[in-house]
Symmetry: C2
Subunit: 84 residues, 2 copies
């Protein structure tokens, strides 16, 4: 595999998986006071649009990575609203 | 402009700008207890790799958008470590 493609793949894995530790932390603590509602509203909207874009151009990696990120982000958003 | 390109652009703007409200909130409150250090370490690493990828393939929109996101993310990461 070309090194540059591998770099891109590792970048995708890191940015997408990064929301998982926050989701786990928030599920455990139920504390959301310091989290920005605005951030997660904008992020969920952006990731939804990315997902839609991936579906429209039929790009499977885009659909997969944004689908995963959106799931984590919606989980955190739900918890922020639930434990407000 | 093609509608699909516009959709992608709006998606980029939303996901990239989403970290700004969190950065502003954290700068104001100085409270970082509920934020996941793991998330921001992973996100900063991923965005740095994206930026590097953008530089290597000489893609200006990729450099710009990831440069902006990385700036916000590093600000939040710095505050989490500072006010731990």
């Amino acid at each position: 595999m070309e090194l540059i493609i591998l770099l891109g793949l590792v970048a995708v894995i890191f940015t997408n998986a990064s929301f998982l530790p926050q989701a786990i932390k928030t599920i455990k603590t139920k504390h959301t006071k310091d989290l920005s509602l605005g951030m997660y509203l904008m992020l969920a909207t952006g990731l939804f649009l990315w997902l839609l874009y991936g579906i429209l151009i039929k790009d499977f990696p885009l659909i997969l990575s944004n689908g995963i990120s959106l799931t984590f982000t919606l989980t955190i958003l739900f918890l922020i609203i639930r434990y407000k």
